[in-house]
Symmetry: D3
Subunit: 226 residues, 6 copies
Amino acid sequence: MAARIILIVALLTLSSSRALASDPSPLQDFCVADFDSNVFVNGFPCKDPTNVTPDDFYISGLDKVANTDNDLGANITLVNVNRLPGLNTLGVAMSRIDYAPFGLNPPHSHPHSSEILHVAEGTLYAGFVRSNTEKGNILIAKKLSTGDAFVFPQGLMHFQFNLGDTNAVAFAAFGSQSPGLITIANALFGSKPSIPDYILSRAVQLGKTTVDWLQQQEWVDIAREY
Amino acid sequence: MAARIILIVALLTLSSSRALASDPSPLQDFCVADFDSNVFVNGFPCKDPTNVTPDDFYISGLDKVANTDNDLGANITLVNVNRLPGLNTLGVAMSRIDYAPFGLNPPHSHPHSSEILHVAEGTLYAGFVRSNTEKGNILIAKKLSTGDAFVFPQGLMHFQFNLGDTNAVAFAAFGSQSPGLITIANALFGSKPSIPDYILSRAVQLGKTTVDWLQQQEWVDIAREY
Amino acid sequence: MAARIILIVALLTLSSSRALASDPSPLQDFCVADFDSNVFVNGFPCKDPTNVTPDDFYISGLDKVANTDNDLGANITLVNVNRLPGLNTLGVAMSRIDYAPFGLNPPHSHPHSSEILHVAEGTLYAGFVRSNTEKGNILIAKKLSTGDAFVFPQGLMHFQFNLGDTNAVAFAAFGSQSPGLITIANALFGSKPSIPDYILSRAVQLGKTTVDWLQQQEWVDIAREY
Amino acid sequence: MAARIILIVALLTLSSSRALASDPSPLQDFCVADFDSNVFVNGFPCKDPTNVTPDDFYISGLDKVANTDNDLGANITLVNVNRLPGLNTLGVAMSRIDYAPFGLNPPHSHPHSSEILHVAEGTLYAGFVRSNTEKGNILIAKKLSTGDAFVFPQGLMHFQFNLGDTNAVAFAAFGSQSPGLITIANALFGSKPSIPDYILSRAVQLGKTTVDWLQQQEWVDIAREY
Amino acid sequence: MAARIILIVALLTLSSSRALASDPSPLQDFCVADFDSNVFVNGFPCKDPTNVTPDDFYISGLDKVANTDNDLGANITLVNVNRLPGLNTLGVAMSRIDYAPFGLNPPHSHPHSSEILHVAEGTLYAGFVRSNTEKGNILIAKKLSTGDAFVFPQGLMHFQFNLGDTNAVAFAAFGSQSPGLITIANALFGSKPSIPDYILSRAVQLGKTTVDWLQQQEWVDIAREY
Amino acid sequence: MAARIILIVALLTLSSSRALASDPSPLQDFCVADFDSNVFVNGFPCKDPTNVTPDDFYISGLDKVANTDNDLGANITLVNVNRLPGLNTLGVAMSRIDYAPFGLNPPHSHPHSSEILHVAEGTLYAGFVRSNTEKGNILIAKKLSTGDAFVFPQGLMHFQFNLGDTNAVAFAAFGSQSPGLITIANALFGSKPSIPDYILSRAVQLGKTTVDWLQQQEWVDIAREY
């Protein structure tokens, strides 16, 4: 049973990280994720359809202000297949983002989905950075107020910063059951084991001492705090 | 010029109606829809990338309560590629739904995307009907309160009804640049030209007189009212 | 064993209802559906390939006139993955439709495939209704004679009616292992449990008494009669 | 104008040859192929949707016995996007195959679609050859009678032979707007320019004299004879 | 255990033969193929992610000259999911091809991936044959020297021949975890059971005696020799 | 004409940056990119097929040691659709990477393709960092020698470092016509316009002075140096 739990945690972990805007298409009305299966496939196996209930398609709590008491002052509540099993094979997900005053959702990318973010409350500075081009990596950004929405193309590095001295809230729509999440600084400086400092030092043009110091810091995953 | 406008309207119209959860994948950072092109392709041709601006990825007004003064007491504000050109090729879209007290978003389907709906304000009764099965067409429904979310699988008939005597608001996430919309009653009774009454009469087990009367009614498209 | 049978029936039921024109692509020569597996995945798990035989790719009886002795005077013989296991992962299916004189294949949609129908015998009136557009829901229909074919785009509501006083026969080609089937009237009026009458009444502009009466009628699934 | 005609022929030619079971998904109700466009894209550009008519989705003549007066005694009437423009982006196609007594639809493959063939009249010996496996290239074949159907998985070499001394007729369903067609012997011995005889001789274990003789023969494309 | 081994061999065999350039998309970081699972799915089930190691993504020996001592004087070392389990769900594969002097990689096709071949050493004549077109089956070929690369479109028959009297080496890149391989002559003349000689004789315009003789020859699979 | 050139450069630029392992599928034998078209679509429009030549599928120079005289001591020679037009719609690409002694291919990601890298010469330390998981961002890395290959899953940050005091060479295979390239440090510190220092400072836990200094450095794109 302990083993089972470990398996499930691992599975959730693994599955939470990849899925394409073009998720493989559903081959039935639905395929509710079976978190108890010990068979691992691309995504999740399905529950026996005869046991499916409305609750498999239901989740609550998106009206709750999440805890933003961390160094970044932000919190991401992901609603992907790992939390809402009915999403399995359906190619869609969402999230709620809470921002403390001047809170930051740091540069990150979703390997498998584009995103539309709309501001429910507050004022944000949001943008994305294009991939390598002849003209370098171009920043496309804008100030957003309540009721505004902005698009972050799939796989590109993007961020939002709360410009106000009050809390802000935004909701994101994704075209995948698991948009995936790579927080850039965490992957770069916080990986376990570490990327060798002689590599990082050269990659980011910082001295090894600084790199070593950075690698000793805590790199919080604000999407893991639910 | 008039011709051009007609073309664009037609194109918007056409394109607003179909797209898959598995939209064809993007082959560049983005491909902002060029509504002025007279070339018609699957989706939209792209603007010259050198002319792309942050505003191509931006839209405002999602905080505005939409006009629900119609027979159904509801209004759908679609934010798809037709209104937000930056979504072209990115496989995601969203919408805001406003409900007057006891307002109804009537049975409809999105041919090309599943949906997650979350209730921002109010209390809804929401559900979807499964396709033909050995046990018939099964209704999977639930009462939703503020902060709750529910999933509607791709292509299945679904609806929401405002159970309260106050306004309600919900936001939907889609896995397509154009989830598409088929309002069942409108397609059945309001098509132009009409489906012959001898066919409809038999299909819905109603007398021709009733069918003729139904076909003379107005079938409002509450998603067209922006 | 009884449980196993129930499982299989449920699985067939579930799987018969969804699949995309863009079914996930095959990753081997074939993946013959294993109806005896108790693992549920998107589509079906495969039989041990070492046990595959020509009969897994074979079905007979498409020359038989099906029983059209029902209220609609029509019968659909589906040949999808549930009846022909060799179709699993291959993205194609077909069906035979029999029509009694003035028989009707009522308004329905295939959530996951477009269709080409060709008339083998008789004269049909066939058409589809476009999704919501600026100009409403447009009917595109035509009279078809023996040897004619017509296209029904994916997800759109369509129908065929036998204009003649003799039997008619047609064959349909689909781009999915399970095109899926939603008979509109059945989903609207025949769902179990029922869509509340106060919702349906408003949606179809009929009195609750009429709606209640409709919900008490039998809504036959002419595709289930094989 | 002559140039235009050449362009169109070339386009038809080119497009008739490839498309996947997983064709790119439609992004609107339909995208009727515009054969007059001088813009070349993956598939076809669309006609201005305001000019679409029911005839764009219609074709006739599938009841006609095709001319099988050729060395193989067979004829394939393809109904793909090149002949039925409404199929563009919809991922489905069909064909009628006529067989003279002992007529042969020779070994060929469809690069982009699986196939279900059903026998409308006559008796056929039909089969496909698996790709390279540990056990070699395995033939999976069966005798088919009127009303029987058989599956040919995507991309695999397959054939049908009329076992009877009377005409036979079959209809095929495909999961692509252009299943594509490669007649093996034609590609091997009939290519223009020729594959060098020192290569072919070694590949098929035949003397150069025999190969040269084979390359001088006519290799009829029975699917081009409509 | 013996049974298990047979299963795995069969599975490898089966899976090695099909996969699309558009493989179904990954739904997690990776899904390392579990060759020990007795569940068969499209592709492979995954190993328990908690047991994944760097070696699952690693293979060695691509610097070794493979044995080309066979009738064709060539050898294909496939690096697909069957040999490198970490490739499962990732849509990419590669191969090394060794050519003895005047060695031949005979006409073959990859049902599920296009290919780029680059010449690491030597001089090759390489080409592909287009599918059936109005102008027949067109050969597109070129002489390649060290450092040159050439493209073979998905599903089309192609070959390479070593023009030099020294060994040659090339490397191929594929857009699928299992590009698949159909050696034309092997499938045509070497299938088990055989395609009836009265069919082959007519298809390739050779006498039955010649066909029978061809069917008695050995048809080596140079990609099976690792 | 100048305008045309700018357009093309921009187009190349744009297109070089995104494409999925599951690129949209080809709908014809090939669709050679037409760099002169002023129509922008997802990927590229095609050349008139009647003008296609073998050279459209050909490129040379992969045997040339590229110039690694830059701060990182590495050089990436991309062979994607922008340099080899025949790759358009075919879902495959490759690259050659040259490493000076102790040269570094810095942490980067390919938004739209997984990669297999094989070492043609030298000794590399190569690895990738998993996306956010319960256990953080896990590094999966290994020392590679000549003839070894390693897999980098789609969208994940990865790198290679030349462990030797001699030049090294590797070749990569991709499952997309444009795998895309995001060099992490360049996107983070070198974007134009810059990401505000108050955002970066917080994201990477460095003082604004350091961030400002970093943003003033040159961030070379070693893949642009061909």
